[in-house]
C-alpha cells in the first residue's frame, strides 16, 4: 500500500501583531506596531498509509488545524516537506484538489439562502463529476446521512446538525481519496456527534478513503480511529495505536455525582479518588476498568440525584503523555 500523506520536518510560523490596550496604546501602535513570530508547527513528521483512519488530537491551539491547512494547500509551509498523494499541496493543482476534501466544523460552503441541492449542482460542475457518478454518490450519501427531505430547503432554515450533514455531502460529492476533517463534531449534541462518527467510519470502510480527523474530544477518537497522533504546542508527542494511548495514559474515568443530601465525603474515598467537592457536586476519578462497578456502588450506597461517567479531558491526558514520554522525532 502506498503512502497517502507524508510529512517531514514541517515547520510553520505565523506573524502576529500585538494590539495594545486603551486609547494611548492604540495611538502608539499606529506608528510602531509590535510584531511577534509564533511557531505553530515545530518540525512535525509523520506518514499515513492509504485507507487509514487516523485521529489527530491535541488541545486548542496545538497545531492540528494548522497541519490540516498545510496539507490541503491553504497555508504556505515555512520549511519542511509535505506531500499528499504525491502532490505538493501548495501548488494547488486542480488534479490534486479534485482528490481531496477539507471539512471544517463551522466553515460553511453551502450557499446560505439557496437550497443545498443548488450548491451540490455547482460542485458537480466545479469538480467535473460525470452525471451518473454524481447521481450515484449523491444517493448513497443522502441515504447514509438521512437527509433526503432536506435537499430542497433553504440552508439557513436548517438546524446545525442538519447543516453539518449536508456540508459533509457537499464535501464528498467528488469522492475524494483523502479526507481532512477538522473538528467535525464540534457544537453538536450527543446524537449528532454519533451520527457523524458513524458516517465517517462507514465512509472509510466503503470507499477506502484515507481520513485524517482532528478533535479535542476524546469520544471521537475512542470510537473511530485505531491510530492516534497526539500533538501539543506544535510538536507530536505520541504517534501510535489508540489502545496503547488509552492503556498507558487514559487509565482513569471521571465520575461526577450530584447528591440529594449532604454526606461525609470521606466515605466516598473508598471507591475512588475524590477530586472536587462542591455540594451538591462531587467529582471522583476511578480506574477505567472498574468504572462501571464503582458507579453501581455509589448509586447503591449514597443518596444520588444524578451521576455521569466521562473520559478524562484531553488536556489531562496530554499532560500525562507529555510528562511520561515524549517521542519527538527531531530536535528543535
Amino acid at each position: 500500500m502506498d503512502r497517502a500523506v507524508l510529512v517531514d520536518h514541517l515547520v510553520k510560523d505565523f506573524e502576529v501583531t500585538q494590539k495594545e490596550v486603551g486609547l494611548v496604546g492604540s495611538v502608539r501602535s499606529l506608528f510602531s506596531p509590535k510584531k511577534k513570530a509564533v511557531r505553530a508547527l515545530k518540525s512535525v513528521s509523520f506518514s499515513i498509509m492509504q485507507g487509514e483512519l487516523v485521529g489527530f488530537i491535541g488541545p486548542n491551539g496545538a497545531g492540528k488545524t494548522t497541519t490540516l491547512k498545510v496539507l490541503s494547500g491553504l497555508l504556505y509551509p515555512t520549511s519542511g516537506l509535505s506531500q499528499v498523494l504525491g502532490y505538493n499541496p501548495w501548488d494547488r493543482k486542480p488534479d490534486y484538489l479534485k482528490k481531496i476534501a477539507l471539512v471544517m466544523g463551522q466553515k460553511n460552503q453551502l450557499w446560505w439562502d439557496l437550497p443545498a441541492i443548488e450548491t451540490f449542482e455547482l460542485n458537480r460542475a466545479i469538480y467535473e463529476i460525470p452525471k451518473r457518478q454524481y447521481k450515484e454518490t449523491l444517493d448513497e450519501l443522502v441515504t447514509l446521512l438521512d437527509v433526503g427531505k432536506l435537499l430542497k430547503t433553504q440552508v439557513r432554515r436548517l438546524s446545525l446538525g442538519q447543516r453539518m450533514r449536508l456540508e459533509l455531502i457537499a464535501a464528498l460529492l467528488h469522492r475524494p481519496e483523502v479526507l481532512f476533517l477538522d473538528e467535525p463534531t464540534i457544537g453538536l449534541d450527543i446524537l449528532g456527534q454519533e451520527k457523524i462518527r458513524d458516517f465517517v467510519y462507514d465512509y472509510n470502510r466503503k470507499f477506502q478513503a484515507t481520513i485524517l480527523l482532528t478533535s479535542h474530544n476524546m469520544e471521537d477518537l475512542i470510537n473511530l480511529s485505531r491510530r492516534v497522533i497526539v500533538i501539543n504546542e506544535g510538536r507530536i508527542i505520541f504517534d501510535g495505536a489508540l489502545d496503547e494511548l488509552v492503556n498507558r495514559f487514559a487509565k482513569k474515568k471521571i465520575i461526577t455525582v450530584y447528591l440529594n443530601k449532604e454526606i461525609d465525603v470521606k466515605e466516598m474515598e473508598n471507591i475512588g479518588k475524590v477530586r472536587k467537592v462542591q455540594f451538591p457536586q462531587v467529582v471522583l476519578s476511578v480506574p477505567r476498568t472498574t468504572a462501571a462497578v464503582a458507579a453501581a456502588e455509589i448509586l447503591q450506597n449514597f443518596p444520588v440525584g444524578d451521576l455521569t461517567i466521562e473520559e478524562e479531558s484531553i488536556e489531562e491526558i496530554i499532560g500525562k503523555v507529555f510528562k511520561g514520554e515524549s517521542p519527538t522525532k527531531s530536535k528543535k
Partner: protein, 249 residues
C-alpha cells in the same frame, strides 16, 4: 458611550483614516465640479457661483451634523436583529435617545470646524443682513428638527420591518438631491421635494433665507412643519414600540 466608540475607531485606525480622506476628497471634487460648471454656465437656475457653492455647503452642514448626532442609527439594525434592543428597552436611559445617539465619531471633530469656517466666509461674500443671518441659523436648527424626525421615522420603521440599512440609504440619497438648490428640478418633482419629503425645506430653504428670498411667514411655516414632523415621528416611534417583537434567537 462615545468614548468607547472613539477607541474602537482608533483601533481601525487605517480604515478610519482612509474613510476620512475619501470623504474630504469627495467634498473637494464636488466643489471643483461646481466651480468648473459655473465657470462655463455663469448661473445655475438663476444662482451665481458663490450662491451655488453656499447651497452645497449648507447641505453639507445639515448632513454632517445629522450624521454626527445620529451615527448610532447605523448600528440599529444589528441592535434589533441580535436582540440587544431588549436590553436597551430595559435600561433607564430613554430607548429612543440611546438608539439615535451615542455613537459619535471622532473624525467629525475634524470635519465640522473647517466647514463652519467655509460657510462663514462664503456666506459673508453674499452680504446678508442681520435678519437674514438670523433666519439662516434658525432654519438650520429647523432642518435638524426635520433630520431628527426623519431618523426617528427610519428606526421606527426598522423596528417593525427590520429593514433599516436600505431606508437610511434612500434617505441619504434623497437629501443628496439637495446638493444643488431644488429649483433645478422640474415640477412635480420640485413640489414633492419641498412639501412631501421636505428635503427642500431642510437643505435649500436656509440658504435661500440668507439670500433674502424667504419671508418671515415662510420661516414660521417651516418651523411649524419641522415641529409637526417631530411630533408625528414621536407618535410613530411609540406606535412602533407596541409592534415590537423581540427577535432574539
Amino acid at each position: 458611550m462615545s468614548k468607547n466608540s472613539f477607541a474602537a475607531v482608533l483601533a481601525n485606525r487605517f480604515g478610519a483614516g482612509v474613510f476620512f480622506v475619501g470623504k474630504v476628497l469627495r467634498f473637494v471634487f464636488f466643489l471643483g465640479f461646481i466651480f468648473f460648471l459655473l465657470k462655463g454656465t455663469n448661473t445655475l437656475a438663476g444662482y451665481t457661483l458663490n450662491q451655488t457653492m453656499f447651497f452645497f455647503l449648507t447641505f453639507n452642514l445639515v448632513d454632517i451634523i445629522a450624521q454626527f448626532l445620529f451615527r448610532e442609527v447605523y448600528r440599529f439594525r444589528s441592535l434589533v436583529v441580535s436582540g440587544s434592543f431588549d436590553l436597551v428597552l430595559v435600561k433607564p436611559i430613554s430607548a429612543l435617545f440611546r438608539s439615535l445617539m451615542g455613537g459619535a465619531d471622532i473624525l467629525d471633530f475634524f470635519t465640522i470646524p473647517p466647514l463652519l469656517i467655509a460657510i462663514y466666509l462664503m456666506g459673508r461674500s453674499l452680504d446678508p443682513t442681520g435678519i437674514q443671518i438670523f433666519f439662516y441659523l434658525a432654519l438650520v436648527i429647523n432642518s435638524l428638527f426635520l433630520a431628527t424626525a426623519f431618523h426617528i421615522a427610519v428606526i421606527s420603521f426598522g423596528i417593525i420591518t427590520l429593514e433599516i440599512d436600505h431606508t437610511i440609504m434612500i434617505y441619504r440619497d434623497l437629501v443628496a438631491l439637495g446638493r444643488f438648490p431644488v429649483d433645478i428640478y422640474q415640477q412635480p418633482l420640485q413640489g414633492i421635494l419641498t412639501y412631501l419629503i421636505p428635503v427642500g425645506i431642510m437643505v435649500t430653504l436656509p440658504a435661500k433665507a440668507l439670500m433674502g428670498l424667504v419671508s418671515t411667514q415662510g420661516v414660521l411655516l417651516s418651523f411649524a412643519l419641522g415641529i409637526g414632523a417631530l411630533l408625528v415621528s414621536f407618535r410613530f416611534w411609540n406606535f412602533a414600540l407596541t409592534k415590537y417583537t423581540s427577535a432574539s434567537s
